[in-house]
C-alpha cells in the first residue's frame, strides 16, 4: 500500500466518525515526523512516491522499445514517470539489488525462471494483486505456471516475452546447411579458430558444453566432459562478449563469424542489412523474460504499469521493437504480421518446442559451476 492510499483511508475513517479529530491530526503529525526523520537516510520513501517507478532492463534496442512503446505512453496516461536503468546481466543486477535499500529498485526485466527462483531465495519476491492486472488473462499459461512452480500461492512477476540463445553465423563464411549440420559443434570447429565468439555467462557456456558432448543440459551426467568442451571453445574463441551491443558489434564488424547469440539481437542485425544467419540447435537454450516486481516497491503503481505493458497494443509494439515474441497467447490474441516471423516464435502458445533451464537444477549448481567457469576461462 502506498502513502497516498494510507492517507486516503485514514481520512475516510475520520470523515466517517471512526476516529476523533485529535487522533486524526495526531496520526498525520506522527506520519509527518516519521517521514521527515527517515527521508534523508532511506531511499524507500522515494520509491513510495507513486509519481515515479524505477524499471531496469537490458539496454540497447530493448530499452529503446520499452521507452518508446510503453513508458512514455504510460506516463502520458497516468502521470507516473518511469525511470529506466540498464544492466549488462542478471548477476550484476542481483548484486546491485542486494546492496540496495528496499524500494530503491522496483521492476526488473529478468530472464529465466532461475532468476525468479534466485530472487525468491533472497526474499526479494513481492505478491502481485492479479485483480489489478486483468491483462494477465491473455498471457500463455505455460509461462505463468513456470513461476507458480517457485511461488505456488502468488506471483511476483508477469511473463513478458521469450526467446532463445541459438547459433548466429555470418553467411558469407558459413552456410545455413553447414550450421544445421554441425549445430552446437560449430562453436568448437577448428576451421573457425580465432573467429568464434561466446557469451561470458557460465550458464550459456555450460549449456552449450552439454550440447557439444551430447548431454541433456538439464541433466548433465559428465560435467568434466562439459568443462573440456568449454576449454576447447575458450581456446578457439577470439572474444567472450559481455553485452548485446558488443555481440552485435563483433558480428557486424566481422571480428567473429560464429557465436551463440540472443535471437532478438540477431533479428535486429538482419533488419540492419547484415547477412547473419540464426539457428536453434536441438535443445537450444530457450528462455522467458518477465517483469519482476521487487519486494518493497509501490505495488499498485507497479501493477498498473504491468497491466499497461501487457495490454495487447503495447505488448505487440514492444515485441516488434525489441524483436522478441510477447508472452501473449497467440491462440487468444492476434499478434499481427511481424511477430510470427521472429526467431523462436511458437504459434501453438505451449512453448513445447523450446528447452528451458530447470531452475532447481541450475540454481543448485550455481555456486560450483560459476566458480569453476571462472577458472576454466583463465586457462585451468
Amino acid at each position: 500500500m502506498d502513502n497516498t492510499t494510507r492517507y486516503e483511508r485514514l481520512r475516510d475513517r475520520y470523515r466517517n466518525g471512526d476516529i476523533s479529530r485529535r487522533k486524526f491530526f495526531g496520526l498525520i503529525g506522527a506520519a509527518g515526523a516519521a517521514y521527515g526523520l527517515q527521508t534523508p537516510f532511506a531511499k524507500y520513501a522515494m520509491a513510495q512516491d507513486v509519481k515515479q517507478v524505477r524499471f531496469d532492463g537490458w539496454g540497447g534496442v530493448v530499452s529503446e522499445a520499452f521507452r518508446k512503446h510503453a513508458f512514455d505512453p504510460f506516463t502520458a496516461k497516468t502521470g507516473i514517470t518511469v525511470v529506466d536503468g540498464t544492466f549488462p546481466g542478471g548477476d550484476e543486477y542481483l548484486a546491485q539489488v542486494r546492496a540496495s535499500q528496499p524500494g530503491e529498485y522496483n521492476i526488473a526485466h529478468l530472464s529465466g525462471v532461475f532468476d525468479y527462483a534466485r530472487y525468491h531465495n533472497f526474499d526479494l519476491t513481492s505478491e502481485l494483486n492479479l485483480d489489478n492486472i486483468p491483462n494477465m488473462a491473455n498471457v500463455m499459461p505455460a509461462l505463468i505456471n513456470a513461476f507458480h512452480a517457485v511461488t505456488p500461492d502468488s506471483l511476483s512477476a508477469a511473463p513478458y516475452d521469450y526467446g532463445s540463445t541459438g547459433l548466429a553465423y555470418n553467411r558469407k563464411y558459413i552456410s545455413d546447411d553447414e550450421a544445421k549440420e554441425k549445430g552446437a559443434m560449430l562453436l568448437i570447429d577448428d576451421a573457425y579458430k580465432g573467429k568464434i565468439g561466446g557469451w561470458s555467462d557460465w550458464r550459456t557456456r555450460v549449456w552449450y558444453g552439454a550440447l557439444q558432448t551430447g548431454q541433456d543440459p538439464n541433466d548433465i551426467q559428465d560435467i568434466e566432459a562439459v568443462w573440456d568442451a568449454v576449454r576447447k571453445h575458450r581456446d578457439l574463441a577470439l572474444k567472450y562478449w559481455a553485452s548485446g551491443a558488443e555481440l552485435m558489434s563483433l558480428l557486424a564488424e566481422e571480428e567473429i563469424y560464429v557465436t551463440e547469440a540472443w535471437s532478438g539481437r540477431v533479428y535486429a542485425l538482419q533488419e540492419q542489412g547484415h547477412d547473419i544467419g540464426y539457428y536453434d540447435p536441438p535443445k537450444g537454450f530457450g528462455w522467458q523474460e518477465c517483469l519482476f516486481v521487487i519486494k518493497g516497491s509501490p505495488m499498485e503503481a507497479c501493477e498498473e504499469l504491468l497491466n499497461f505493458m501487457l495490454d495487447k497494443e503495447t505488448s505487440i509494439a514492444v515485441a516488434e521493437g525489441q524483436n522478441y515474441p510477447p508472452a501473449l497467447d497467440p491462440t487468444k490474441v492476434d499478434l499481427g504480421k511481424k511477430i510470427p516471423t521472429l526467431p523462436a516464435f511458437d504459434p501453438t502458445g505451449t512453448l513445447a518446442g523450446l528447452t528451458f533451464a530447470n531452475p532447481e537444477y541450475w540454481n543448485g549448481h550455481e555456486a560450483d559451476w560459476s566458480e569453476t567457469f571462472s577458472r576454466v576461462q583463465r586457462g585451468y
Binding site: R234, Y240, E253, E255, E366
Partner: protein
C-alpha cells in the same frame, strides 16, 4: 585556553572535515569488507555471518588466485616500464621547451577530459578487423587480408599504457622542472658531453619523479578492471576481474571481500616500501 593549546588544536580542526570523510567513506567501508571476508557464502540465499577462515585459506593457498595475482603484477610492471620509456622523453621535451610549455601541458591533460572507457574502446576502431589501421594497410597493399590485432594481452597493455602515460609524464615533468639547469651547464663546462651530463646529473636528480610516476602507474595498472574486459581475450584477466566475478557473477561477497583485501595488502605493501625509501612528498608534487 593558552596560545600553545590553541595552536595544537588548530590543525586538527582544519583537518576534521577531511578526516571525517576519510573515516566515513574509506575506513568504515573497508572495515565492512574485512568483516565480510570472514563470512561464508551459502549456496542460495543470505550469507552466513560469523568468523570463518575458509575464504582466507582458499585465497592464500589456491594456485589459481596466486597465478592471476602474479600475472596482474607482471602486466602492471610491463605497463609501468613502457610508460617510463615513453613518458621520460615526452616529459623532458615539455620541461626543456620554451614558450609553448603551457600548450603542451594542456595537450597532456586533454585525454582526461574524455571518459576512460571511451578512450579504451577507441582502440577497437583503430585495431579492429575493419579498423583504421587494417584499412590503411589494406589500402596501401601491405596486407591482403586484415590482421587480427585485438583481444590479447598486448592490446590490454596498450590500453593501460594509453590510460596511465599522462600520470607518468606529469610526475617526471614536475621532477625535471625542479632541477636547476645550471647543474647541467656546470657539468658541460667541466667537459661532460650532453649525454654524460644527462646520465650523471639530470637522470639521477629526476629519479624521484620517475619512481613516483612508476608507483602510480603500477598501482593503478594492477587495480584495473575494465581494460581486460574491453580489450582482452577469453583468458585475459587481472585480479580486479576476479573480485568482480566473485562479487557480481558468483554473488560470493565474502570471497570477493577476501580477494579485494589481498590485492589491497599487496599494493599497500608496495606503497609502504616506496614511502620507506623515497617518501610520499614526490608523489604529492606529481599529483598536485
Amino acid at each position: 585556553m593558552s596560545i600553545e593549546a590553541r595552536e595544537r588544536r588548530q590543525p586538527w580542526i582544519l583537518l576534521s572535515p577531511a578526516l571525517t570523510a576519510v573515516v566515513l567513506l574509506l575506513i568504515v567501508p573497508l572495515l565492512f569488507i574485512v568483516v565480510y571476508s570472514f563470512w561464508l557464502r551459502s549456496a542460495t540465499g543470505a550469507d552466513t555471518a560469523g568468523f570463518y577462515l575458509d575464504n582466507w585459506k582458499k585465497v592464500l593457498s589456491d594456485r589459481f588466485y596466486r597465478d592471476i595475482l602474479f600475472s596482474t603484477l607482471r602486466i602492471a610492471a610491463i605497463t609501468t616500464a613502457a610508460c617510463a620509456l615513453l613518458g621520460y622523453p615526452a616529459a623532458y621535451f615539455i620541461a626543456r621547451s620554451r614558450g609553448n610549455k603551457l600548450i603542451l601541458l594542456v595537450l597532456l591533460m586533454l585525454p582526461f577530459w574524455i571518459s576512460y572507457i571511451i578512450r579504451t574502446m577507441s582502440w577497437i576502431n583503430i585495431l579492429g578487423t575493419s579498423g583504421a589501421l587494417n584499412s590503411l594497410l589494406l589500402m596501401l597493399g601491405v596486407i591482403s587480408e586484415p590482421i587480427q590485432m585485438l583481444y590479447n594481452e598486448t592490446t590490454v597493455i596498450l590500453g593501460l599504457v594509453h590510460f596511465l602515460l599522462p600520470f607518468m609524464v606529469l610526475n617526471i615533468y614536475v621532477s625535471l622542472e625542479g632541477i636547476d639547469t645550471n647543474l647541467e651547464d656546470a657539468a658541460n663546462s667541466l667537459g661532460a658531453t650532453r649525454w654524460q651530463s644527462f646520465l650523471q646529473v639530470t637522470l639521477p636528480l629526476s629519479l624521484p619523479g620517475l619512481a613516483a610516476g612508476g608507483l602510480l602507474c603500477f598501482v593503478l595498472g594492477a587495480g584495473t578492471y575494465i581494460t581486460p574486459v574491453i580489450l582482452g581475450g577469453p583468458r585475459d584477466a587481472m585480479f580486479a576481474n576476479l573480485v568482480f566475478e566473485a562479487i557480481i557473477r558468483q554473488l560470493n561477497w565474502p570471497l570477493g571481500s577476501a580477494l579485494s583485501l589481498l590485492l589491497l595488502a599487496v599494493l599497500g605493501a608496495l606503497v609502504l616500501i616506496y614511502n620507506r625509501y623515497l617518501g610520499m612528498s614526490q608523489l604529492a608534487k606529481g599529483l598536485g
